[in-house]
């Protein structure tokens, strides 16, 4: 019977596999959970604060909210889903989906660059009729 091969990354000289999935300790799970709860509090508090007053741009709220959501998602992916302890192949596929979905953002450019017409009434900041 053939000895264990590192099918993910080829042989090591002694025939042992190159990469192996390792599993975290319990404390990591609980730590992640409390971090997530904390970030949830941040998210909700952020909703009630209007950052445009402090930092002079209306976009800050959504940007920070998305950053916070991304950090939460990263925590879940790396720790709960054990990508941190996985092989390179697992890491590749974990990253691929989230990056690829951004590709659809090209569709945005269509709407940005259309010549302005009355068909699309973009709502301006001072839209009060």
């Amino acid at each position: 019977m053939a000895s264990g091969h590192g099918h993910g990354a080829g042989f090591a000289p002694d025939g042992a596999p190159i990469e192996r999935i390792s599993h975290p300790k319990l404390s990591l799970y609980f730590g992640t959970y409390f971090a997530l709860l904390g970030l949830l509090v941040v998210t909700v508090v952020l909703y009630f604060i209007d950052l445009s007053k402090m930092w002079h741009w209306v976009g800050w709220n959504i940007v920070i909210a998305l950053i916070v959501a991304t950090v939460k998602a990263l925590l879940v992916v790396l720790n709960f889903m054990n990508v941190k302890g996985g092989t390179r192949l697992i890491w590749l596929w974990a990253a691929l989906g989230f990056i690829w979905v951004l590709l659809m953002g090209i569709i945005f450019l269509d709407y940005q660059f259309r010549p302005d017409s009355t068909a699309w009434e973009w709502q301006s900041l001072t839209d009060r009729k």
């Binding site: 053939a2 993910g8 691929l96 989906g97 590709l103 450019l109 660059f113």
Partner: protein
């Protein structure tokens, strides 16, 4: 289950009993319906896909008959819409997308990689049943009145105004998409994790590279069209509005999301066929594929670039013209890797020992027809000419050249190439050649006139047209009948070979590849011991070291050399 032991496999006992292989190991219906053997699943897919092809072909026949006369023959407007929609939906979702991966990929890929099966055999079986369910749903939709939106389901006609079986047809396509995803998932993991020891990525046959690229496209693209079509159904049944202009929605958003998948889908259709062509040309030229790395990288490049060109289907919509410019340039660029591959194949044949077997004839057909299809695609990529040519028969001719001249030829080439391996029988070579020539001639007679008539202004999806176009349509219909005969012939002589064909050895074409190391047909578990690969993918020796013998000795084509005892290993 069989009671044979390891020692029995591969041995013929005094030429009385046929050796046990995947076909005759068990004979009950249950053993077929519940099989997890990738080879049996491939055979079942072959039957299902052929049924779909026949149905799509019948619809095509109806279209061509209808179009022989300028005022239409026997179909009402509604009926004609339903017929061409049925042709599109069945051919695309039920033949072109699954054919090469699910039939040839399923059968050959594990053998080619030196694996005992795919990574997830039960998922493979599920994939087949999901496909079958989808096919039944599609049939029900067509028989129950059909759908008249065109296979592209453009909103708001499909989501609000159409009175046909849109929801059922969409669900059929949706379910078929899942079958495709399961197959792709299986292939990706198999190629990553189950190559034989010593087979690095660059020692892998190019067919496997093609399967990998195809599977990546399937995984990344299919879900987008699935959710988009699901939204159309929701809009239709529940009245939600996302694509409806009356409430501020954008129908062009549907088109963006739809074509985000459907353009890469054409690469799902053509990359596997290109993979087959690699194998066929190498085996029939007895020469390694010229520029292996270039072909491998081009395959991946097509997969990646194919995702950023979808806007070229939307040049005539309200899509921003600046974005249109970008899509136009990118569409020109995506032709480059395909061209690289055509050049590499041509160069492979140069100074090769070319044999004009029937599968090589199909491969020649592919080279010529795919080139024409690809070049005419450039006219459509160019913004200015596309405004004139879009939605005319020029587009129809272009995509039939790449899809039929490309994918269908590739599928037939592969079917003929691996038929001895799959069934252990040789088919009639003469009939194979006749069929290849008929398909080639019939195809050109059908679709070359369509370039002309499209350029002259004949719109697609119309069955009434000005009388001056009739000559071209009649030529096209004539060609379609020749093409139909050419496609039908294999059904007869291939099936005939099952009982009456000469028994095939394990390597009738003297090709190089792990699949040719196994028996024809292979044992249920493919290999007793996995071979250890130390050679390049297409290691054909040019100089004859053995007085005229061009296949390397490690690939015997004599059955006796393959009878291994349980403890013997295939090491070189």
């Amino acid at each position: 289950m069989s009671t044979a032991t390891l020692k029995d496999v591969g041995k013929s006992h005094d030429n009385v009993k046929e050796p046990l292989n995947y076909l005759n190991a068990t004979n009950t219906i249950k053993s077929w319906l519940f099989t997890v053997d990738h080879k049996r699943i491939a055979i079942m897919y072959l039957v299902a896909v052929s049924v779909a092809f026949l149905l799509g072909g019948l619809a095509a026949g109806m279209i061509r008959v209808e179009l022989t006369v300028p005022k239409g023959q026997f179909l009402t407007n509604d009926a004609y819409n339903k017929v061409f929609t049925a042709h599109g939906v069945v051919m695309i979702f039920f033949f072109l997308i699954p054919a090469v991966p699910a039939v040839l990929g399923n059968f050959v890929l594990p053998l080619m990689l030196g694996a005992r099966d795919l990574a997830f055999p039960r998922l493979n079986l599920l994939s087949f049943y999901v496909y079958s369910a989808a096919l039944v749903m599609g049939l029900a939709a067509i028989i129950g009145g059909g759908v008249d939106t065109g296979w592209t389901f453009y909103t708001p006609y499909s989501s609000v105004y159409s009175n046909s079986n849109v929801a059922l047809t969409i669900m059929a396509a949706f379910v078929a998409g899942f079958s495709s995803i399961f197959t792709g998932l299986n292939f990706i993991v198999t190629i990553h994790k189950m190559r034989a020891p010593g087979m690095t990525w660059f020692k892998m046959p190019l067919f496997a590279w093609a399967m990998y690229a195809t599977s990546v496209i399937i995984m990344l693209g299919t879900p987008v069209v699935a959710i988009t079509l699901a939204l159309v159904v929701v809009e239709r049944t529940l009245g939600f509005g996302i694509f409806s202009p009356e409430i501020g929605g954008d129908p062009v958003l549907f088109q963006h999301l739809f074509w985000f998948y459907s353009h890469p889908a054409v690469y799902i259709m053509v990359l596997p066929a290109m993979g087959v062509i690699n194998e066929v040309i190498a085996a029939n030229s007895k020469k390694r594929i010229f520029g292996y790395e270039f072909v491998a990288f081009s395959t991946m490049a097509i997969a990646v670039f194919g995702f950023i060109v979808w806007g070229h289907h939307m040049f005539a919509t309200s899509q921003s013209m600046y974005l249109g410019l970008v899509f136009s340039v990118l569409s020109f660029l995506v032709a480059v890797p395909s061209a690289v591959k055509i050049f590499n194949w041509a160069t492979t044949m140069y100074k090769g020992s070319v044999e004009l077997t029937s599968h090589m004839l199909y491969a020649f057909g592919f080279l010529g027809l795919f080139t024409i299809g690809g070049l005419t695609g450039l006219y459509l990529s160019s913004l200015a000419t596309d405004i004139h040519l879009t939605a005319t028969y020029f587009v129809v001719a272009h995509f039939h050249y790449v899809m039929v001249g490309g994918t269908a030829m590739g599928f037939l080439a592969g079917l003929h190439f691996w038929w001895p391996k799959m069934t252990g029988r040789m088919y009639s070579e003469i009939w194979g050649k006749v069929s290849a020539v008929l398909v080639f001639l019939g195809f050109n007679l059908t679709f070359l006139p369509q370039f002309v008539v499209g350029y002259l202004g004949m719109p697609r999806r119309y069955h009434f047209y000005p009388p001056e176009f009739q000559l071209w349509h009649v030529m096209s219909t004539g060609g379609a009948f020749v093409l139909g005969v050419g496609f039908l012939l294999p059904a007869f002589y291939l099936v005939h070979s099952l009982k009456h064909g000469e028994k095939a050895g394990n390597n009738p074409w003297r090709a190089v590849g792990l699949e040719w190391l196994t028996m024809s047909p292979p044992d249920t578990h493919n290999f007793h011991e996995l071979p250890v690969v130390t050679w390049e993918a297409y290691e054909y020796f040019q100089e004859s070291h053995h007085g005229g013998d061009v296949a390397p000795s490690r690939f015997p084509f004599d059955d006796e050399e393959l009878h291994l005892a349980a403890d013997e290993e295939v090491h070189v």
